[in-house]
């Protein structure tokens, strides 16, 4: 089986509002990927697309828009788990001989009207049994989860604040981040309430943007003469604990042991971690579920360990994460993968994690009714090590 390379981490800089459709953002990302690599677009034979607001234009329609003739197309609609899912499906396609060079791209425009519609109708259960309870979308769900986590384990608002503040420091070096100005604990604690106990800085700023990368064989990557990273292992899970009355675990616990066993490394070997930070409570659940600390102690972990790029602890969401960089629809789940590739090939948008060789990236998505259904993770390694 061919060895797999991931390369060409690409970001189309985010905007708070955009009149451009999601397909435009995805196309801009494809253009950046090909021009950055000196790759003709007819050398791409696979396309995996993730988008919240694409409407009827799935991957096949986009292939026509972009003038691509492909041997493999895939629509990956798994919210914040989409990037890792797209990566896994691209790897399978290449190893099965269905494609050789796959572009994985997520992009979304942003208009207030479309955003509200997406939130109200994200799933049939959400439309009927969440949205009528105050019209708050995922803020309602994650407020419930955050309070349950605080009351169950003893986390304080300051603990969530530590995540937001550290990520803002990481974002302060990233010229693409929507929010770069340092955040103080005072500002965090006194921000306006959104859905108690969530306040302004606990909620991702929605925006327009695109993220993408290329998956191919190591042979092809070397021929292109560009740096690449390898995937040591990846896993995904859907609907892990349906009987938990308030979600205090994602699906990471379900596959953690197999993930590390397959990668032949452990959480302590990681030089950084990129969590899916739609709300800070989920970063705690990911640190716990992925074995960086015990269940219910993620908030204590961030009291003891620096999360900044150069703080000597465990650098987390090294470009600022979605909380500071912005959440461009389903591109939000791609941010961590794209930033991981950048860190491992030594060209981050912001600060470089010193001697970054191994990184873990996690995804979480598809909030249905009162919980997120999809969890995913991948361990990536610099190719020359």
């Amino acid at each position: 089986m061919p060895r797999i390379a991931i390369l060409a981490p690409t970001t189309v800089p985010y905007q708070r509002r955009s009149d451009h459709a999601s397909g435009w953002w995805i196309g801009r990302c494809l253009s950046e990927i090909t021009s950055g690599l000196d790759l003709r677009k007819d050398q791409i034979d696979g396309l995996a697309i993730s988008s919240l607001g694409l409407g009827p234009d799935g991957s096949a329609f986009l292939a026509a828009h972009f003038g691509l003739s492909l041997s493999w197309v895939e629509d990956v609609c798994l919210g914040g788990a989409s990037a890792i899912a797209a990566l896994r499906r691209a790897i399978s396609a290449i190893q099965s001989g269905h494609a050789e060079t796959v572009a994985c791209i997520a992009g979304d425009g942003f208009s207030k009207e479309q955003f509200q519609k997406n939130i109200a109708e994200f799933s049939s259960r959400t439309a009927r049994s969440i949205y009528p309870y105050g019209g708050a979308g995922p803020n309602l769900v994650f407020a419930m989860i955050t309070r349950a986590y605080m009351e169950q384990y003893g986390a304080q608002r300051e603990d969530f604040g530590r995540v937001c503040i550290a990520q803002r420091e990481n974002a302060s070096f990233n010229p693409h981040a929507l929010f770069q100005k340092p955040l103080t604990m005072e500002e965090y604690l006194h921000a306006r309430p959104v859905a108690e106990p969530l306040h302004l800085y606990d909620c991702v700023p929605p925006c327009a943007g695109a993220e993408g990368f290329l998956v191919t064989t190591t042979e092809r990557a070397r021929a292109l003469n560009v740096p690449y990273v390898e995937v040591l292992a990846s896993e995904e899970n859907c609907n892990a604990l349906p009987d938990e009355s308030v979600q205090l675990h994602g699906g990471w616990d379900a596959f953690r042991d197999r993930l590390y066993e397959r990668a032949a490394v452990g959480p302590r070997d990681m030089d950084f971690v990129q969590t899916y930070d739609d709300y800070p409570v989920m970063t705690f659940q990911q640190l716990e579920g992925l074995g960086f600390c015990d269940t219910g102690s993620g908030f204590e972990f961030v009291r003891k360990h620096s999360l900044t790029c150069t703080g000597g602890g465990l650098p987390m969401n090294t470009c600022g994460g979605q909380l500071s960089a912005g959440q461009a629809g389903f591109a939000g789940g791609f941010l961590g993968v794209v930033e991981s590739i950048r860190q491992l090939i030594g060209c981050p948008l912001g600060r470089q994690v010193p001697r970054a060789r191994l990184g873990l990236v996690s995804g979480f998505g598809m909030v249905d009714y009162d919980r997120g259904l999809c969890s995913a993770a991948a361990i990536l390694r610099r190719a020359d090590s």
Partner: protein, 127 residues
């Protein structure tokens, strides 16, 4: 008080409020059956922003997550003073101003018949 709740006729499981089929056995014969309306608060939030004009005019607005003693978990409007996790409640259904049948919870022992009036200043609260 009791509530009508969808159950699977084949395996008897109480269903999620939005079930296509029985989640347990995939049976397609779901029929309402009475269950006790009591439960406990698992979590709660007070909303200060809303994308729905109906609620934007009523902020702040409190919503609770309820675990019914009979098993199911539901999200419900809260009609009471500040809620507390673990507190015992009674669940009822009301019709909101948009015409939707929705759940509302009151502290155990409170008068559940006035909930619709209390929350939305409409109707009698009995549906």
């Amino acid at each position: 008080m009791q509530l009508e709740w969808l159950h699977c006729a084949r395996c008897g499981s109480p269903q999620h409020p939005d079930a296509y089929l029985c989640t347990e056995c995939l049976g397609d014969d779901l029929a309402p059956k009475l269950i006790p309306a009591q439960g406990r608060i698992e979590s709660w939030t007070r909303l200060h922003t809303s994308m729905d004009p109906l609620f934007a005019a009523l902020l702040p607005w409190t919503v609770v997550s309820i675990k019914l003693n009979a098993g199911p978990t539901v999200i419900a409007h809260w009609a009471g003073e500040s809620p507390e996790t673990g507190a015992e409640i009674e669940l009822t259904t009301i019709v909101d101003p948009a015409g939707r049948e929705v759940f509302a919870a009151v502290p155990l022992g409170a008068d559940a018949t006035k909930v619709q009036q209390m929350l939305f200043n409409t109707g009698t609260g009995i549906t």
